[in-house]
Structures are given as C-alpha cells and as structure tokens.
C-alpha cells in the first residue's frame, strides 16, 4: 500500500517508514531504552514488539519530519507511559516511607559525612565510553520502580511536574521526595561503578 506524499523531505538511505528494516535498524536501540525504563527484559521485548506493531498500523502517518528513530522512540515512550499509568505498582499514596536508607547514610546531623567526590567536569571523559552508558543503564535499572519511572519521565521524556504527578498519582511534594531519592541513589551508584574508581582513562 505505497502512497506518494507531496512535499516529503528526501529520505536517507531508506524510504520513509520502511518496516522491513525496523528490527535491524532500530530493534536494539528501542530495546535498550525499554529495558532502562521498565527494568525487565521480557517487558522490554514486549514493549518493543508493541511499538513496531503500532508503528506498522500508523506508518502512513509518518511524514518524515523527524527521523524514523525519533518517531519510533516517541511511540515507545507512549507505550511506556501507558504501562506506568496502568500498572500503578503501588497504590496512589500521600505517604511515603519516612526515610530512604541511601540518603540517610550520607549525612550526620545534617552535614555530609564524607565530602562528595569531584566528578570530572569535562564530558569527554564519559561521553563516548560505552562502559559509561552501560553503568548508567545498570544504575537506572537498579532504582526502585517508582523512582525510575518518575526520574525518567522527567529527565528523558521531559514531562512537566503536573503531568508526572498525574501519571503517578502523587502530590508535588511527594514527587520532590521521589526525585531526590532517585538522584541520591544514582549518584551513589555512578560513583561506585564509574566515577569513583574510574577517572578518565581508568578502564
């Protein structure tokens, strides 16, 4: 069912919406993204499959304004948000656990027990390193589900505070707490698995 759309920007090596090559070209990227969001390989595979099927049904809507990858990731993100919204793994609550062990161990009487490490300001030390991205994905996967959901809805999907609160069923105050705890854990994890023992060129 090929259609010719006027004003279609010239495609790169493949014509717009080329389902035959989707799995090869985009499968791994979508899967990696899904794993880091869902923390579960089977769910991630399922999300990728559903994304491709939805994209197949909607392929005539792909106008080539963005890249195919961006378009597919957009569909995948919506699938993920739906799953977060529907799963509600914990019931909506106004009360969070009083303290998070990760945060509690860093401070004594309100002050830092140990001064945080000086991470290198220069992104060159990590930006092209595959093992850095592995470490980041692993740290994300280790977050408790709700912390990961909140953090990624914000940092990857760029959703507003109001939107995230609606999806998760929490108040702004709660979201602040969840985000802070997520950041504490991620910094501790990255410090331990990457920055701490690994200044530039360590691995």
């Amino acid at each position: 069912m090929a259609t010719v759309r006027p004003n279609q920007p010239p495609a790169s090596s493949t014509s717009p919406a080329d389902p035959q090559r989707w799995v090869d070209q985009h499968g791994d990227a979508l899967y990696g993204f899904a794993v880091s969001r869902l923390g579960d390989r089977a769910l991630a595979e399922e999300a990728v499959q559903e994304t491709f099927l939805a994209a197949l049904r909607a392929r005539d809507d792909f106008l080539g304004a963005s890249s195919e990858r961006t378009w597919l990731i957009g569909i995948l993100k919506r699938k993920i948000v739906d799953q977060i919204r529907n799963a509600r793994r914990t019931p909506p609550t106004s009360r969070l656990p009083e303290a998070d062990p990760a945060a509690g161990e860093l401070f004594e009487r309100g002050y830092w027990k140990t001064r945080p490490a000086a991470w290198p300001r220069d992104p060159e030390t990590w930006i092209e390193r595959n093992d850095f991205w592995e470490a980041l994905e692993r740290c994300l996967a280790r977050l408790p589900t709700r912390m990961r959901d909140a953090f990624c809805l914000r940092e990857l999907d760029d959703l507003s505070t109001a939107k995230i609160c609606t999806i998760l069923g929490v108040s702004t105050d709660n979201l602040c707490t969840i985000m802070y705890r997520a950041r504490v854990r991620l910094r501790v994890c990255l410090d331990a698995t990457w920055f701490g023992g690994n200044r530039s060129g360590g691995r």
Binding site: W119, E137, C176
Partner: protein, 98 residues
C-alpha cells in the same frame, strides 16, 4: 506566631547540607520560595561539599540529556541488545501483520 520573614531568616541561618542537597534537587521540580533560594545560595557559597554535590547533579542531568540523544541518534551501538530469539519473534510478528 512566626511571620514568613522570620521563618525565612531562620531558614537562611540554619540551613545545613542535607536540606541544601534536597533543595538542589527540588528546584528542578518546583519553584523555590524566596527564603529557600537565598538560604541555598548562601549555604552553597560557603560549602565545598555541597558545591561538589551540585556538580554531580549537573553531570547526571547532562548525562541523561546525552543519553536521550544517543537513543534517538542513528547508528549508535547500545550496550543492551535484543536476543536473536526475540529478534526473530518480533520480525515474525511484523511479517504476520504486514
């Protein structure tokens, strides 16, 4: 009964690292109130530990932005790969629906 100004001044004088660290995160989610903003800046000015912590948070944020770009870019090799079985299964599902 404390007025908001008194409360604010106390906050500025008494803010410690743990609360400052929390505010560093909060300011990305909600707007800080005037006394929170002032207390935070005053504290960070004089606290190397909190400056380091802020730097870590900024790098984390930068990394996430970059991570998103990598995911959406073409030809980036990502660490996690679909298994061959999953690949076949998904390709099959696509073919069946084609």
């Amino acid at each position: 009964m404390m007025t908001s100004v008194l409360k604010g001044i106390l906050k500025i004088l008494l803010l410690r690292c743990e609360e400052a660290d929390r505010l560093l995160s909060d300011e990305t989610v909600r707007s800080l109130r005037w006394w929170e903003r002032t207390a935070l800046e005053a504290h960070v000015l004089g606290c190397r530990a909190c400056r380091r912590s802020r730097q870590q948070m900024r790098i984390l944020h930068q990394a996430m932005r970059r991570y998103r770009q990598r995911l959406e870019g073409e030809g980036t090799s990502m660490p996690d790969s679909l298994s061959p079985e999953a690949r076949r299964r998904i390709q099959q599902a696509l073919n069946d629906s084609g």
